[in-house]
Subunit: 159 residues, 2 copies
């Protein structure tokens, strides 16, 4: 079992090396998603290739696994990622309901080579007024109408 | 100027109503991205439609704007979202380098109709050992190799 886990992490790290190559990816990050001992999704950073700032390795792997399995939830799956997920990827893992996370490098390792992961972890819990990106309320009264309609619906699946 | 801002928020709320309709979207969330007074991207929740747990309104809008503008960074843009972004969407906004966020409903409004946004805000700052989803280090030594190679590269753009 432990050997198999090391093998999955090795694959994630191989993807991180692939993701570092010019013309292929833009960061040394890779991830695989495993279900019942098999890889069901994988990814590496593709932000610049895809013009998609959300295309981090874990998000790419989650989308790949969901596509392959025809689902939007991955309850029975685990993710192996070559680096501790940034808050975007961590939140995506929560929304996808993955069971467990294995990670190689840490957020501080990522900070040392110039990525903003650790900064984002500091930023998110701050009161809105103290954050770097300005954030301002607008139109809550009108926005509430959609929430009220939703609250009246039956059989909703909030995700 | 203020009237125009209200109009953009109105559009985001209209998208949130569209995103609540069966067969179209799965949540009362909508967002638009604005550059130089024009909408350059928009989205509503499409998690179930697309089998993509990352397809929240803001992420869909960011992907749409990046595709339309042919870029992976949106420095000169603002986002109008019908609800305070969850940590995944907030982090995506940081990675995309958006200039400003306007929001309608709050994270607590979202919690009241059954969405996990407020829970996620509590979860992310926790020490790894206290989180709901188990997270475990594995293979850092091997993973470090990719980071060391990256650190040696020139002209990298960390995103």
């Amino acid at each position: 079992m432990e050997e198999q886990q090391k093998e999955f992490m090795h694959k994630a790290i191989q993807l991180s090396l692939l993701g570092s190559q010019d013309g292929i990816g833009q960061g040394p990050f890779g991830a695989v998603i495993v279900k019942d001992g098999k890889i069901v999704g994988q990814g590496h950073n593709m932000v610049i290739t895809n013009n998609d700032p959300t295309a981090h390795a874990e998000v790419v792997a989650i989308r790949d696994a969901c596509k392959n399995l025809g689902t939007y939830e991955l309850q029975d799956c685990e993710i192996y990622t070559s680096c501790e997920p940034c808050p975007m990827c961590l939140s995506a893992i929560y929304w996808a309901k993955l069971r467990k996370i294995y990670y190689g490098n840490t957020r501080n390792d990522a900070a040392e080579i110039g990525f903003d992961d650790a900064f984002l972890y500091q930023e998110i819990p701050l009161p809105l007024s103290e954050r770097k990106i300005a954030i301002e309320p607008l139109g809550r009264e009108e926005a509430q109408e959609a929430f009220k309609l939703w609250a009246k619906k039956e059989d909703t699946n909030n995700c």
